[in-house]
């Protein structure tokens, strides 16, 4: 049975049983990963999955299910269980419905690439080229992954929405090492494989790794920091989660009661764009079927809106930003608007500071206040009188995320596209200079 037929079968059965709102999604994914370390391929991985997701509201009782099994009999079992389950569920008095269609959708530019769809095991050639490039550029060891996927989604809702989308994704990461304590990581992604230059990423990683040999222990205190794109994306990713209306309600946001207020330096403008050309999370529609859009989240330092689905938007007396998440709205592609400075010009503005190329293990002490700490890893360098100096190690950033954003002093002019282990939302950002960042280290 085709996904569309199953979806329609489920929808009709649930509506007949009295459901008020129903969303049925079927997503199919074929993906692969080449995992490598010590310059060799550890594993080749292949996945084939089909997921059936059902959302049902009946008298404000919300039940969700996700089934990794796809057959008509399995589907009938699920429908029966849903109906039994919903009887004993409790109503969500705050629930306020799902998007009302029909909608017309615009396609996302550069979101499907036949070359990725037919890449197969040629992905190994990209990994080989990248490893060779890193070694030729001076790295001793490399580790990383190269992932490719083809996705198809179909969505059917009780509010006149019937939509499909397809996409391809490529993600590459490389960590170059010159010793146990000298390394650099670079990541990149694209929906079109020809726009992903894995050799360039490998070369950049190798060059920084080489420079970071023999680091000394860093010092604590306040430093001006030039954040490379990867670490700044880590911070913006955490801010993005705080933008969700769900996070505000759950106590996970430092942006509570901040709409219309200054939350960052006026140099900062952040956009969430679900339609971003070649955006990793771009799609025609969100999880309710609402057409995705471009939302200005922070305009010259002023926080403009939370991320909403239909239900959270009604609770906040506003319109959906098309960021469903059926329970929790979430960012799509976060963009930090570029500034005017080359990286060199950012360094030149620093008398005594640090250049940080990666962050790791970002954890909050209090999501409400935004107090957190995070650990710079890979190449960390002293900046002295505008010039990159000695590498250091063993430090931590212990800061408040809003203070950090208010202390942004200059923004680079060359955005990079970042996603990864610690950056779950794709972020497009240039390097950024932040003044007076609090650096701590283990006490002797």
């Amino acid at each position: 049975m085709e996904p569309e037929e199953i979806s329609s079968h489920v929808l009709n059965k649930l509506l007949k049983a009295g459901a008020d709102d129903v969303i049925v999604s079927v997503s199919k994914q074929e993906s692969s990963q080449i995992k490598y370390s010590n310059n060799l391929i550890n594993t080749t991985k292949t996945w084939e999955n089909i997921d059936l997701g059902i959302f049902m509201a009946l008298k404000k009782k919300i039940v969700l299910t996700n089934i990794k099994e796809f057959s008509l009999s399995a589907t009938d079992d699920v429908v029966n269980k849903l109906l039994k389950f919903v009887k004993s569920a409790s109503p969500n008095s705050e629930y306020a419905g799902i998007a009302k269609g029909p909608f017309s959708y615009k396609g996302v530019e550069d979101s499907y690439d036949k070359k990725i769809a037919s890449l197969g095991n040629n992905s190994i050639d990209y990994v080989e080229k990248a490893i060779n490039k890193a070694l030729a550029s001076g790295a001793k060891r490399t580790a990383g992954v190269f992932e490719n996927s083809v996705n198809n989604i179909s969505l059917l809702t009780s509010n006149d929405i019937k939509a499909t989308d397809k996409g391809t994704h490529s993600y590459f990461s490389i960590r170059a090492f010159n010793s146990k304590y000298a390394s650099c990581q670079k990541v990149g992604f694209s929906r079109m494989i020809d726009l992903l230059d894995v050799e360039n990423l490998a070369e950049q990683a190798a060059l920084i790794s080489k420079q970071s040999l023999n680091p000394e222990h860093g010092k604590f205190g306040k430093f001006d920091v030039v954040f490379e794109t990867l670490p700044f994306a880590n911070i913006i990713d955490n801010l993005g989660m705080a933008m969700s209306a769900f996070s505000v309600e759950a106590g996970l946001s430092c942006l509570k009661d901040m709409v219309g207020k200054q939350v960052a330096n006026k140099k900062i403008t952040i956009i969430d764009d679900g339609m971003l050309k070649n955006g990793f999370n771009s799609s025609k529609f969100d999880a309710e079927g609402a057409p995705t859009q471009r939302n200005i989240m922070i305009d010259k330092g002023i926080f403009k809106t939370y991320l909403h689905n239909t239900s959270t938007a009604k609770r906040f007396n506003t319109k959906t930003t098309a960021n469903a998440g059926l329970l929790s709205p979430s960012p799509t592609n976060l963009i930090v608007e570029k500034g005017n400075f080359s990286k060199q010009e950012l360094f030149e503005q620093v008398k005594n500071g640090l250049y940080i190329t990666n962050l790791w293990y970002t954890r909050f002490q209090n999501y409400n206040t935004g107090d957190f700490s995070t650990i710079p890893r890979d190449g960390i360098f002293i900046i002295k009188n505008g010039k990159i100096g000695k590498p250091i190690k063993g430090i931590r950033i212990s800061e408040n995320i809003l203070t950090l954003l208010k202390n942004v002093a200059a923004i680079g002019n060359k955005p990079e596209r970042v996603i990864g282990w610690e950056v779950e939302t794709p972020v497009v950002t240039p390097a950024v200079l932040v003044k007076d960042v609090n650096i701590t280290r283990p006490v002797d």
Partner: protein
Amino acid sequence: MFKDLADFAVKYALKKGADYSEARLESTTSNSFILKNGIAEASGFDKINGLGMRIIKNKTLGFASTNHMDKEKIKKLIQNTINTTEKASHLREEINLSEEKANKDRYRVKQKINLNDVGPEEKIKLLFNAEKELINTKINIPSRYLSLSDSITTEYLTNSDGTNILATVPKVTFFYLLTVEHDGKTSQRIWQYGQTGGFEFVKKWDIPSIVVNEVKALQNNLKFGIKPPKQALDIVAAPQVVGIMVHESGGHPYEADRIIGREGAQAGESFITKEMLGTRIGNEVVNVVDDPLLENSYGFYKYDNEGVKARRKYLIKEGIINEFLHNRETAYCMGIKSNGSSRSVNYDRESIVRMSNTFMLPGNHTEEELIKDVKLGIYMKNFMEWNIDDKRINQKYVGAESYLIKNGEIKEPVIKPVIEITTPQLYKSIDAVAKNMEYHAGNCGKGEPMQPIPVWFGGPSIRIRKIRLGN
């Protein structure tokens, strides 16, 4: 279950030229319930039926997974995987597996109260009861997020060495995030409880008492907390804090795949090398083990995901680096046998070296004795923020419920004392270990794609001598 399909897959891979093949079938049903600020946000259930395979051909490893339970599709997947391993063979890490006994067994974790016999209504009622008790405290708690979930997983593992394991493991989990406000200031705690077993454990936890005690302690700290002293002092760390310390710096660095660099890209490597086996890392009172066999623990298993029989591993023995965590691949690399530490979170993830239940062994003291011998110090009962670098040296723990110790007695609450310390200094500064034991549940992150895997971490209270708190 589709056991025949898994048996077929193993044989078919061999027929297509594989030197080793392994299939792992997973069938999981789960339920979850969320209460947010007193409102039933949503309930849900999920179902998984899928097959994961590892195939080695010409010393090249390929992993494949699918939830299309169809023979023809599986045949095609196996052929594709073999083709890919062939293409990768000129650039592959040479994969060899340690020789292990082929085990045949079936086991089931017993449930006194079967999860399927407890309806959704009763499960969500427990959260409503907790909410009611929170409101009754009259404490200002602007955000209250409570969730309860349960699952039953049946796994069938078979490989071309003759291993055949069928296991059924039920799990229960309670998670909370609470925000307490006082005088314009807020304090938060996130914590979770988790065990393998039936609903009897959810009842035993007494969820209303857990959350009420938590908000009372948070309010007490906000109301009466003082700043921590600046001079060098002693710390008595309670089991929750010891558990996370041991997990982060006594467990992760002992994962052999980190040590050989296989997780170098993301999860990181380790400051420990093979050559450090047998060398001193801490005071002789320090003993750290990883033990999957703890009954009803969150990280329980009898056989790992390569079919190797689980056992207790002594990672640190009397302060000496004693043993690493191994799967068959890392064991072969180091010329030994696997100690059964290979785990994967679902059928669609490659099994890699993981912790199970990692904890410090108890000593002979009471917690009171540890406190009594402190002139100036901090009693850190639990924590909120923590992190550690990817080689597992530089770690930080920020106390949530904490108190000043003065002349051997617990005094007023202390606001956010910070332990920021290196691993060698931490383990060398532990001078006494108590005999009170607690285990706590968490989901440990590792792997690419990420595999958050259920573990326990724990230990007794310990005393850490003469350290200076961080800023």
